[in-house]
């Protein structure tokens, strides 16, 4: 629990049921709108003071779109953006400009987001043109030099141009620019994706220092879950414009309940050749579907490994993209809290997932299972036992290469699969986080 909920729990930035769609136009001369891309479709999130919210998801899931709406570059199609509890759309122009100053963005692509005709000094000082009162005119030269040093660049390079810097250095220029007007919130869109690991750590540590010193809040967008784990206090996972799972960082990382989150986690390469997986990752087939034409029912059903396995269990073929439980094809799951025992107690953000069968994901993928509480989430299907044993239902129809006997590698803490031995008694392997809470 945060010690001081009054100051750290209130949201500096919040979105409610936010949606953003773009028209799809066809035809070269007479452009006609033939449909809409639902880039963000009903997202609610809260960014708390001095905290970091990690936003992960595949390319095209709507992370950057959400970021642009948050900083006011784009207007939402639906929903509200609240700053300090105030609805931005009802603010006066002056108040909105002040907001723009407080919420700054670090862009995804350091190659296109820096004007090639401006020197580094001009780029970093650019925000002062829009927000002249942030730093007095006479102090700006010094401020720029300080900012450059702060992000690990040589202050003597103020007169250089972006092309004279490496991609990683350009990313830092972008961070320096965002910090120029002393914002309270930084929306960082993949700020370290283009950096080498060696430099990545420097920038992340820098962001963490700045947060401690200045009480900054970060929305930290990344596709690298290992990086997000390092910096985030809370995590939200997006798929096709929706948040499919959210919660405190340990809950999401240690007891992920959405099959998509579990697939993402299993796909992260482990820097250890001894733990080289023998094809045990939950490989997702295919690419994410187009947000212009999202699948019916659960948007993840065309790629969901859990749905296939459930279908197989129910005697369906479990092979094609549509061989999934009927519910997955027809009913859109909502984001619901997972109930007690899933890290929800004492958590700042209730752990929630948008999957009809969230409580079965752990049991099915051979990775360590979270213990499911008796009063499991409200959305457990009628034909499913809520307090199912992790190794239940593994008899008929499952993939032949799927081995339920997962165990934890003491060195890495990851699940490793052992070859099945007939005389071996299957043990339930509890999640380390759950063990910890039991010991208390």
């Amino acid at each position: 629990m945060p010690e001081n909920p009054a100051t750290s729990d209130d949201a500096v930035l919040e979105v409610r049921d936010l949606a953003k769609s773009y028209p799809v136009r066809q035809g070269l001369v007479l452009k006609r709108t033939t449909g809409h891309v639902q880039a963000v479709d009903g997202v609610s999130l809260a960014l708390r003071r001095g905290r970091t919210l990690g936003l992960v998801g595949e390319s095209g899931s709507g992370k950057s779109t959400l970021a642009r709406v948050l900083v006011g570059i784009e207007k939402p199609t639906r929903g509200q953006v609240l700053v300090d509890g105030e609805d931005v759309s009802t603010m006066s122009r002056g108040a909105r400009r002040e907001l723009r100053r407080n919420v700054q963005m670090v862009f995804q692509d350091p190659y296109t987001s820096l004007n090639p005709r401006m020197s580094v000094g001009e780029i970093v000082a650019e925000p002062y043109r829009i927000h002249p009162d942030a730093v007095p005119r006479t102090g700006r030269r010094k401020a720029v030099a300080e900012l450059l040093a702060l992000v690990g660049l040589d202050p003597d390079h103020v007169h250089r141009y972006p092309h004279q810097f490496s991609g990683g250095q350009r990313q830092r220029i972008g961070i320096a620019r965002a910090l120029a007007v002393k914002p309270r919130v930084l929306v960082c869109d993949e700020p370290v994706s283009a950096l080498d690991v060696s430099v990545q750590g420097q920038v992340i540590n820098l962001l963490e220092d700045l947060q401690d010193e200045l009480g900054l809040s970060y929305l930290f967008i990344a596709h690298d879950l290992a990086v997000v784990q390092h910096i985030a206090d809370e995590v939200a996972v997006m798929y096709l414009g929706r948040v499919v799972e959210e919660g405190d960082r340990p809950a999401v990382y240690k007891c992920a309940h959405h099959p998509y989150t579990r697939a993402l986690l299993s796909a992260v390469p482990v820097p250890d050749p001894a733990a080289r997986s023998a094809g045990t990752e939950l490989l997702l087939e295919g690419d994410p579907p187009s947000p212009a034409d999202p699948p019916s029912g659960c948007r993840f059903h065309t790629r969901c490994w859990l749905a296939r396995r459930l279908a197989a269990e129910q005697g369906l073929a479990g092979d094609g993209p549509d061989d999934v439980p009927e519910r997955c094809r027809t009913e859109d799951p909502v984001l619901v809290p997972l109930g007690r025992g899933d890290g929800a107690r004492g958590a700042a953000v209730p752990h929630a997932a948008a999957c009809h069968f969230a409580h079965r994901a752990a049991a099915f993928d051979g990775r360590p299972a979270a213990v499911v509480p008796e009063d499991a989430g409200p959305d457990v299907g009628p034909d499913i036992e809520p307090d199912i044993e992790p190794d239940a239902g593994l008899d008929a129809g499952l993939d032949a290469d799927f081995d339920p006997e997962a165990t934890l590698d003491p060195a890495t803490g990851r699940a490793v699969l052992r070859p099945t031995r007939p005389d071996h008694v299957t043990e339930t392997v509890p999640d380390p986080a759950v063990l910890e809470s039991r010991e208390r």
């Binding site: 595949e58 390319s59 095209g60 690990g152 490496s166 991609g167 990683g168 950096l195 080498d196 690991v197 060696s198 430099v199 990545q200 750590g201 420097q202 992340i204 540590n205 963490e208 596709h223 690298d224 879950l225 290992a226 990086v227 784990q229 390092h230 960082r249 990382y253 697939a263 993402l264 986690l265 796909a267 992260v268 390469p269 482990v270 820097p271 250890d272 050749p273 001894a274 733990a275 080289r276 997986s277 094809g279 990752e281 490989l283 997702l284 087939e285 295919g286 690419d287 994410p288 092979d319 890495t412 803490g413 990851r414």
Partner: protein, 364 residues
């Protein structure tokens, strides 16, 4: 796995891989015996002309590629991974030139050939997937057309034959519904699918060696996992030699057999992958490995370990050991003398004066 057998196609038989315009030295054995040396780069150095004089981008790089094995070329941005590969392929920009070293493909030093012969020879037997692959596809041509450009140029395939081959290649890299998608344009493909197209196009001439320059850096983890598995499968099936250029030590751990670590244009460590991760023989490797954020590490509040300082800029490489300003083991000798890449243990080499100490310390 579903549908696998239907995809095992052979693209090597239908045309002469040496090609009509191949040079006289092209009496190349086509069989690949696992472990046979295919490509050997030795003491390669490349310079760029610039306003401040010549700038060394690669300065003494050596590595060996064997059939059926994957060599990872690892190092920070700007250390010369791409430039050295372009030199091997004969594709350096006009401002760059090879100043030293050799690149022997099955005994033939590619760098000693005329530029045209170099490109023809390398283009046939050594293929490269370029770092900016996603931008490399031409938006105005169909995917099928681009896939078979090299094939048509070299073996005079008919349009129909070329289209059939393009479908086979797309199938090979597991693009679903290949026959339907061969006539589509690049913008109709996702990033992951475009990367597959680039890999397919590199495989069109059934190369002995594939150099893949950051083939998954622009991809999502889930798609990255698909593409890496695909590369590993194709490589094993064809006993290709694979050079995987990456800065991601997680990826390296998952797919490489051997690793060459580069720093400031040169190789500083070479080792089988397990040995390298178990006990690095160079302080730079050790620092790199420590700085990888790990999913399996407890993340609560601890700072990410970093390599202090910045990599040197070409043209301003420090004296002595180029790593010395960032090295936590540096001593006086490191500031004055350049440590050569020398044997540090069986199958391993390191360019650090104190490699033995490092390895001994790890064992103790």
């Amino acid at each position: 796995m579903r549908g696998m057998t239907g995809m095992e196609i052979d693209i090597s038989g239908a045309f002469d891989p040496a090609g009509p315009d191949d040079d006289a030295q092209g009496q190349v054995p086509t069989e690949r015996t696992a472990g046979a040396t295919l490509l050997e780069v030795d003491d390669l150095a490349v310079e760029f002309r610039s306003d401040d004089g010549a700038v060394r981008a690669v300065d003494g790089l050596s590595y060996r590629v064997e059939a059926g094995r994957t060599l990872a070329l690892v190092g920070e941005s700007g250390c010369g991974k791409s430039v050295s590969s372009l030199a091997v392929m004969g594709l350096l920009p006009p401002t760059a030139r090879v100043v030293r070293g050799s690149a022997r493909y099955r005994g033939t030093d590619l760098l000693a050939l005329s530029p045209a012969k170099h490109r023809a020879h390398a283009g046939t037997h050594v293929a490269m997937v370029f770092q900016d692959a996603l931008a490399a596809l031409n938006p105005v041509h169909t995917v099928g057309y681009q896939l078979t450009e090299a094939l048509r140029a070299r073996s005079g395939l008919s349009r129909r034959e070329a289209r059939r081959r393009a479908i086979e290649l797309l199938d090979l890299v597991k693009v679903p519904n290949a026959a339907g998608r061969v006539d589509e344009y690049p913008h109709q493909f996702s990033g992951g699918m475009r990367q597959r197209v680039m890999i397919a196009s590199a495989l069109a001439l059934d190369p002995d060696v594939l150099i893949a320059d950051e083939p998954t850096t622009a991809l999502d983890v889930t798609v990255q996992a698909q593409v890496l598995r695909l590369l590993a499968e194709i490589q094993a099936e064809r006993q290709m030699g694979l050079v995987l250029i990456t800065h991601d030590l997680g990826v390296v751990a998952g797919v490489a057999d051997d690793v060459t670590v580069m720093y400031a244009g040169r190789a500083v460590e070479h080792a089988p992958v397990r040995d390298l991760y178990a006990a690095p023989a160079h302080p730079y490797t050790r620092a790199l490995l420590r700085s990888v954020p790990r999913l399996d590490a407890g993340a609560d509040g601890d700072r990410l370990p970093v390599v202090p300082g910045r990599p040197p800029v070409p043209g301003r490489v420090p004296s002595g050991c180029p790593f010395h300003p960032r090295c936590d083991m540096a001593r006086d000798v490191c500031r004055t003398d350049v440590p050569p890449l020398a044997d540090a243990a069986p199958e391993r080499s390191s360019a650090c004066f104190f490699a033995a100490e490092l390895l001994g310390g790890a064992r103790a």
